[in-house]
Symmetry: C2
Subunit: 655 residues, 2 copies
């Protein structure tokens, strides 16, 4: 920790510096040299090995008159500054400086951000459509006018009878997010997700061609040192290289699988417990808020409960995320993946599963379970025979869903951006402070300047991808409930690109360049999210929102239809009264009080039919679009074929 | 037509014989020579060009002591004889003799036939399960005991009141195909289709590796002569070869697309008209049969109507198939596809669409539309205000569906086999008769012997694939209604393999060998059928069969469940009476006669919920299985990687 050992370490790493000075791709022999260095670093003989940056990223002289000092300077000026936020990224330069793998990440991120623009605009339009037609909506009007309709108290002790028009404002806000435009937007977003992925394939093929990766194939990977150290006693002949190498016995593979699966189950059950805890908390706190002294909260106790619940939920999510990283690392202590990429894929999949379930389970609960098992007046279901289950507002649970999504998404993005940039900034400030020197000192060699920077995170690009993929989930999976999600995502990503760029150029040591032809496991995950999104949106529209009841009501009201179809006798005269009780139960004075009415079964059948129609339609459109868009653009395809043709011709001539 | 011109033609084709004597793959220059021959044949200068067979397929000496005379003889003895029906096919020999494309067809056919064995066994088990539990089924028992329940007459003039137990036998037959096993079998077949396709991919990769096609890529195809002749005035530079070539202007592409689309629509509307015609025919004939003099038919007039309808349907299907081929060829007169494979794909897709719609539309009608719009007593819906719409038996439409499927499948297979083998046999017999000589004359050169055989059909393998793919559709799409379909298909295919073999070896000229790495457009079609099958089976079980009503009935009867869930008050006491009216309408003496009962809405909701659950479950399992099974077996994958690794090593050493 003191200056002396630091410099002696730095001197030792001078050799490393010489080996890694050229930012190039290594042949197998060179890689073996490199791997011995990795082993020496693992042993503690060396402290670090990294290619140095090309120089300072800032220059006193303006770039316009004096030209860029080096590529790093150029990248900083043309890419990593805030002023560049509206410009295309210099992808070729990024690729030349950081390698294809990082270049591909930024290409993907830029592509995703660009594709978010139409989604954000359409989402905004849907939102404004709701805003402008809000006052014309019949349910809103009737709820706001219903001063004489009294609702049963929502909690047992401190709640009183409510007037229905007390929830007027909730009804209006709900309408903002639940109007005719929502169905359109859900279909639009499902198609958008497909188009995004299909066109990304084309973009990727153009990039890999331009970057000369068409013919490139990954070489045989070396084993992880941990794997070698664990299994050096058990040897087998590698079927590909033909050389003996350590081997994981079958029993260990089973153990490994079991540990993975049980770890995943443990973590998921932890998440479910957390969600349940928040539910119980809400039930307990509900009564407290309802008897609060401050009358503003007393009046809006339901909103206050929700808001407090969401905040606590967010804190739990963030805490569990930290637990996940620790647990996953612990799991890997007994898992021993064979190669680095195996480790990476396994880690990525686990982290994605955890974080996805963690982020979304509370939202799933609110969308599909909240307020569905409350029973009815006189026979409420109680949790542990003690707390009455929470009910939704008279205008539905959708507003809770919006609140939950909006708050979690917003807070998470702020937190992520802080962690991503703030953390290395502070660390670098601290190491500067420690060694009492400016971060760029022209008198020192570049590698000593870089030594002061943070090494690139052990998870490599995984955290960056993970964050974006989770965000993609947020923007698509419940988009029917929160059409502003793409806009939030767009704003975040515009910041994210420059933040990442700034971090890569100025705050991190230059990473070892690596080749890649695609974004790996993430593409499959994105496709899976696209499919899940269609299903959840169908269910949200059918079950959570009031779209179907409104549709059935409209249908019954339009008597011209009905007489045309000769259904007058079958359906009975329309009565809006039927639609006012969200549960569609009979009134207390009927022969079987609180029994489900015929209306309930009509609407249930309509809801289910909607799910079937929506899913078949949207999946049909999705597949058709995916079929229509070829993975490689025609001119690129022709060019590749032409090259092959010329090679063939040459070979025939040689024969 | 006279002998003289025939022999002069044969002499002219002697040159062709010399060019094509070697059964090998041609380089580009050779192919150009070949293509000029094609042009000469098109001009009429030559009559035919084909590689000769290797000799006679029959020999006086037994193969065991004297060894095979040639490969053709060997193929006949070891493959094309009926006695070989239980043996594996000699795929490598087939490939060596006929080329990879035909080899791959037989590999696929053999694989499909082998996979049908488990499906046929399970289907048979489901059928026997129905047979043995038939008498225990409650609906059967109650229908057979209901001598005092009278049903309204099913037609207006000649029908009388029926006793419910008159349809006892129908109820029993229906139960054969509609019992608890059906749902299981539908899920099983959906998984079977996935496993079949996934394992075919593995099999294919093994074959292409063994046949050295891994690295092979299709060469640039030459244009079709028709295309060249049409567009020789409009030239452009081919982006791949860099040479000028005729070019189809954009406006012609649009015209072509329009012609295709309108042709398809025309043909599909023709099919729908035909189905409609059969429906009307049934309505007209129904009354006639019901007043028939022969009392057996008078009693079973409904069955007689169905049976006659099916037969007429089959005749119409067969006639329309002929029309299709003609219309498709006419369409191609104005379509001008660019290359042979473009023509083949376009033709295959069109023929598949036509024949698929043609074969299945009447089945779709029976499964989902028959008996659903009849109205109710006192207010029957009438076609053209004249004919009352047809009703189903009191035990449902499923028996009609079975009859339709069974008869069409059975007749079609017999017809196909006759056309496939009988037609060339007769033609060859005729040409032998004409030239008054045995089909194998040792004194003549081989190519003159082969001249007497039929040329391989212009559609190549397409007809063979088309037949099998349509059969695959039959065995999967409505398998829930007819579990014996896989058995029928299996029996047919065992014959089909040897029939095709016999035809290729003895009745056809040896085809020009061609390379192929996969079964082309058919794989995608098979996958599409697999997906469609899940959807149709879900709908058949939910809507056509009585599985859901029985389930709801069982659920309501088991009062222990109901009291456990506290639903006693909600559901009302169970009454089997509710379930006896298939339409779930109120009785005539209720306050609103013939209105849909609450029961109807319960069951409708249950049906729709079943569709949702079934589809999500089965598609989930399908995707999971497809994900689990890698496309290339591990050891083959290792071997390919090892070869690449060795090449890389050698290159590094050379450097």
């Amino acid at each position: 920790n003191n200056k002396d050992t630091f410099f002696s370490n730095a001197t030792r790493s001078r050799i490393v510096y010489h080996v890694l000075q050229r930012t190039k791709y290594y042949t197998l022999t060179e890689l073996e040299g490199l791997l011995s260095i990795c082993k020496l670093i693992n042993n503690g003989a060396y402290e670090a090995a990294f290619p140095p940056h090309e120089g300072a990223y800032k220059s006193r002289q303006p770039i316009k008159t004096h030209g860029p000092q080096n590529n790093r300077h150029l990248l900083y000026e043309r890419w990593a500054r805030w002023g560049m936020w509206y410009k295309h990224q210099p992808l070729d330069l990024i690729r030349r400086y950081f390698g294809e793998k990082i270049g591909l990440y930024f290409a993907w991120l830029g592509w995703y951000t660009g594709m978010l623009i139409p989604a954000a605009i359409v989402g905004l339009c849907v939102f404004f459509y709701g805003l402008f037609t809000m006052n014309g909506s019949q349910p809103c009007q009737e709820i706001c006018a219903a001063a004489e309709v009294f609702m049963c108290p929502l909690c047992d002790k401190n709640c009183s009878l409510q007037r229905l028009n007390d929830s007027c404002i909730y009804a209006k806000v709900t309408y903002l997010f639940d109007n005719g435009g929502t169905v359109f937007f859900a279909i639009f977003m499902a198609i958008w997700a497909t188009v995004f992925l299909e066109f990304w394939k084309r973009r990727r093929s153009i990039l890999t061609y331009a970057w000369d990766l068409i013919e490139w194939e990954e070489e045989e990977e070396t084993l992880r040192p941990q794997f070698e150290a664990k299994y050096y006693t058990v040897e087998r002949v590698n079927p590909i290289t033909g050389k003996p190498e350590p081997h994981q016995p079958f029993s260990d593979k089973i153990t490994r699988l079991l540990i993975s699966v049980s770890g995943i189950f443990f973590m998921i059950s932890l998440v479910i417990t957390a969600v349940f805890a928040v539910v119980v908390y809400r039930l307990v706190v509900m009564e407290q808020f309802a008897s609060f002294k401050w009358s503003f909260i007393k009046q809006h106790w339901q909103f206050a409960t929700s808001a407090a619940g969401v905040c606590i939920n967010f804190v739990i999510i963030m805490m569990l995320n930290v637990v996940y990283v620790v647990v996953t690392h612990l799991m890997f202590l007994s898992e021993y993946p064979r190669t680095e990429s195996e480790w990476e894929n396994s880690f990525a999949l686990k982290m994605f599963l955890f974080q996805f379930v963690n982020l979304n389970s509370s939202i799933f609960y609110i969308a599909f379970f909240l307020g569905r098992f409350v029973g009815h007046p006189g026979n409420y279901n109680k949790l542990f025979n003690r707390w009455r289950l929470e009910e939704c507002h008279p205008s539905g649970c959708l507003i809770d869903l919006c609140l939950q999504m909006g708050v979690i998404m917003f807070l998470k993005q702020i937190w992520n951006n802080f962690m991503e940039l703030g953390y290395p900034l502070i660390q670098n400030w601290w190491s500067r402070h420690k060694i009492k020197r400016g971060i760029q000192d022209a008198s020192l060699p570049q590698w000593e300047n870089d030594w002061n920077l943070q090494p690139m995170n052990i998870h490599g690009l995984m955290d960056e991808y993970l964050e974006m993929v989770l965000q993609f989930g947020f923007t698509t999976i419940f988009v029917a409930a929160f059409p502003l999600a793409p806009l939030l995502a767009l704003l975040n990503n515009i910041i994210e690109i420059r933040l990442d760029a700034y971090k890569f150029v100025t705050q991190w040591r230059r990473p070892l360049p690596a080749r890649a032809t695609d974004i790996g496991i993430w593409y499959g995950i994105l496709e899976g999210i696209g499919i899940l999104a269609v299903i959840t949106n169908a269910f949200v529209i059918a079950i959570t929102s009031d779209y179907i009841p409104r549709l059935v009501y409209e249908y019954k009201k339009s008597s011209s239809w009905r007489s045309a179809l000769g259904m007058e006798a079958v359906m009975g005269p329309p009565s809006f009264m039927d639609f006012r009780y969200r549960d569609y139960r009979g009134p207390p004075w009927s022969s079987k009080p609180y029994e489900f009415t015929l209306q309930y079964w009509h609407i249930l059948a309509a809801r289910l039919a909607f799910i079937i129609v929506f899913e078949h339609l949207v999946f049909g459109i999705k597949s058709f679009i995916a079929f229509l868009i070829p993975d490689v653009p025609q001119d690129l395809y022709d060019r590749i074929r032409r090259e092959k043709y010329l090679v063939q011709e040459m070979m025939y001539e040689a024969e």
